[in-house]
Symmetry: C2
């Protein structure tokens, strides 16, 4: 054991020289670690147990190794950081086999910033966007498109159904003015897996641009740019690649790139400009989220070591199966039929038991170590449980057990909804 | 010494079970630390020395304590994270005494995203923005304003001068259609400190809206919302508050807030919408950069412990003085006269010595432990050195020494420029 600097940090939650501080309130225990001349976490409430596991579809639980990558500072202009940017960009193309057909443009902000940037950059100002809508995130995409002044039409589907390539076919035949189609690969509002390949085939046949929000599928579900034609595909750092949140990225087809110049009304979110500058200088135009990018590089390294997309899908599928099996045993009923349930996030009907209240249920599950996610459907009461992040079936089984304990705590006898579908 | 989890990390650069890897190239030594079943930094090149100190105006060198705050994952919907958001928002208002007059709206992305969001939210679509331009970042602000379709007029000043309140007065008298004035408090293109109070007074007298880009001054230079009237003031996490980059924030005057509704053509960057949602739910509208925000909270705690803005200014001023004195002894001449030199970043004339080449100079200084910053002036050759970050006069003296060593390495006899001003 070799120690050069006298700085030692104990992860987990037993910092060196741990002590309670008398002035700490009961509600907010403050932990203090003295490390040489540093005092660490003086003002951050530190739990005396393992942090709750996030069963939320981003931010999610990341590996220790990913977080540790953030313990260094990087100059955004420096060659070392430029190499990180290049490495991440290459990896992102590799994951969907897009090296020959696409470029990748990283962008600061959350995934929604990248969706807005993609629409604003790819769709000309007189373009017409058709949004295939089967959930809350589709409605958000339609809203940002129309706010930017792009003519926007919504093709509505039920939240509990996948979007229909046949309905898309009919819509394109009925209105030749549609220039672009926008779809969400995995609609996490309910958790539906939409038929990317079939939608892409219809768009290709009609020579329409396709913008794919692959936020919650990229890295986990198969996407192959060699066989699936898309103009733009969007995802983010803090989803199935298991990085931390803070940046998104957009794959743009090389053939459409020249026509994108001047489309954007936004300087910050102009992906054409971002790409041109990055190609010229290898740098980001504006200050990049350096720590987030370095964490993403480390997360991608683990993704590759795990075995890439197929291995990640297998783990998430096992997580999802463990969850569905365990929750079924407690009486819970999933909102979606199995054939369109993506192994990313599962929506469950709220139990009919009168002792159920989401807030109390959430707090109880959290006391037992797991963070659930509220439902996003407007018509019926549901809650959601994510299957993604640096967790496996062990944690999912623990999560089901935590739900069982939460039910006990609240006196919920059974998880069944009022009327099983 | 209490150990609960068997995970131990040695910061500094001597990870546990450190070993050289035979396949590592000379250029890129790979370090590997085995920690239980984790392998850490397998794919990240790890230096065998202290990381170079960033003399760049954001990203900058942050404290270990700030970075360590990023070692946990947070659910963005969870009460614990909501409390972090509330705490940071309150602190940001406190720093400029804006509790009574302003609200604060955090935003994902780099500082430029927040500048664009402020202009797009505050200025109505038929508004007219006058940009007081004495540098590269002013030009960027004018560009984003006109891209969004806002009528934009530039009032040009020399890069080596502060903007003139008298010239502003004349411009406002000459054109009554101007609705808003945009100024940059500290223009880091050259490093000029602009006269915020005098500009604000002119705007108040003419009843014009004022948008202040305080990116590189917030927290270090005095700003008092009780005596300085502004509609919007913008800064970011990774500047003088010494957080990591990844989010900005905008202080909006409460009186103008209602009129901001519907101004923005962007969903992601609509600060009115972001604020309304945050007030209602205490959450961010879209996925927040959780780790960046928690690091900012920890950075602000250290800011307060240090003694707040006046203490931070004193440290930066001492840094700047140490730098100017040391560089003068080597023959270097600063670009700006002392009376408008902000203690944030210093622009130096490039040496006339024919052995000088910025790239080589940069690389040599880096080998001696310091990351310099390129110049941003178009007419004359310069380079920049930041005075901000979690560093003091010890590091600044070391930086000057590193410059001296870099000069030796390159055979630069003297730092004086071709013609001293």
């Amino acid at each position: 054991m070799q120690i050069v600097n006298n700085i030692i940090v104990f992860l987990g939650f037993a910092p060196l020289h741990f002590r309670f501080r008398p002035r700490a309130s009961r509600a907010k225990l403050l932990a203090c670690a003295s490390i040489g001349r540093y005092r660490i976490f003086e003002n951050t409430p530190m739990p005396l147990h393992r942090d709750a596991i996030l069963l939320t579809p981003g931010p999610l639980t990341t590996s220790l190794r990913t977080k540790l990558a953030m313990l260094r500072d990087w100059g955004s202009w420096d060659a070392d950081f430029i190499a990180v940017t290049a490495s991440v960009r290459k990896s992102l193309l590799d994951i969907v086999h897009g090296q020959d057909s696409h470029v990748v443009v990283p962008l600061q902000g959350s995934g929604t910033f990248s969706v807005e940037a993609a629409v604003g950059t790819v769709v000309p100002r007189d373009g017409h966007v058709l949004v295939l809508d089967n959930g809350a995130y589709c409605k958000r995409a339609a809203k940002l498109s129309s706010l930017m002044g792009r003519r926007t039409t919504v093709l509505p589907f039920d939240d509990a159904q996948a979007v229909s390539p046949m309905a898309l076919e009919a819509a394109l035949q009925a209105d030749a003015s549609i220039s672009h189609v926008l779809m969400i690969h995995c609609e996490t509002g309910a958790g539906v897996l939409n038929p990317l390949q079939a939608v892409a085939d219809v768009c290709a046949r009609h020579a329409k641009g396709l913008i794919v929000d692959a936020m919650s599928s990229f890295g986990a579900l198969p996407i192959d740019a060699r066989t699936t034609r898309f103009d733009a595909l969007i995802a983010a750092s803090g989803k199935c690649l298991e990085g931390v949140p803070g940046m998104g990225f957009v794959l743009l087809h090389k053939q459409i790139l020249p026509a994108c110049e001047g489309n954007s009304q936004s300087l910050a979110m102009d992906l054409f400009d971002q790409h041109a500058y990055m190609e010229k200088t290898r740098q980001w135009r504006f200050t990049p989220p350096t720590h987030v990018l370095v964490a993403l590089q480390e997360a991608i390294a683990q993704f590759i070591e795990e075995g890439g997309q197929s291995a990640r899908l297998a783990r998430y599928q096992a997580n999802c199966d463990t969850l569905l099996r365990g929750m079924a045993a407690l009486g819970f009923v999933p909102f979606l039929p199995p054939d369109i349930q993506a192994p990313i996030i599962v929506t469950f009907h709220a139990p009919a038991d009168r002792a159920y209240d989401f807030k109390k249920f959430y707090d109880a599950a959290k006391r037992h170590g797991f963070i659930l996610y509220p439902g996003k459907l407007t018509q019926i009461e549901t809650f959601r449980v994510g299957c993604i992040g640096a967790i496996g079936t062990v944690e999912m089984a623990q999560a089901v057990h935590a739900v069982a304990l939460a039910m006990q705590d609240l006196g919920i006898a059974h998880g069944a909804p009022a009327s099983a579908p």
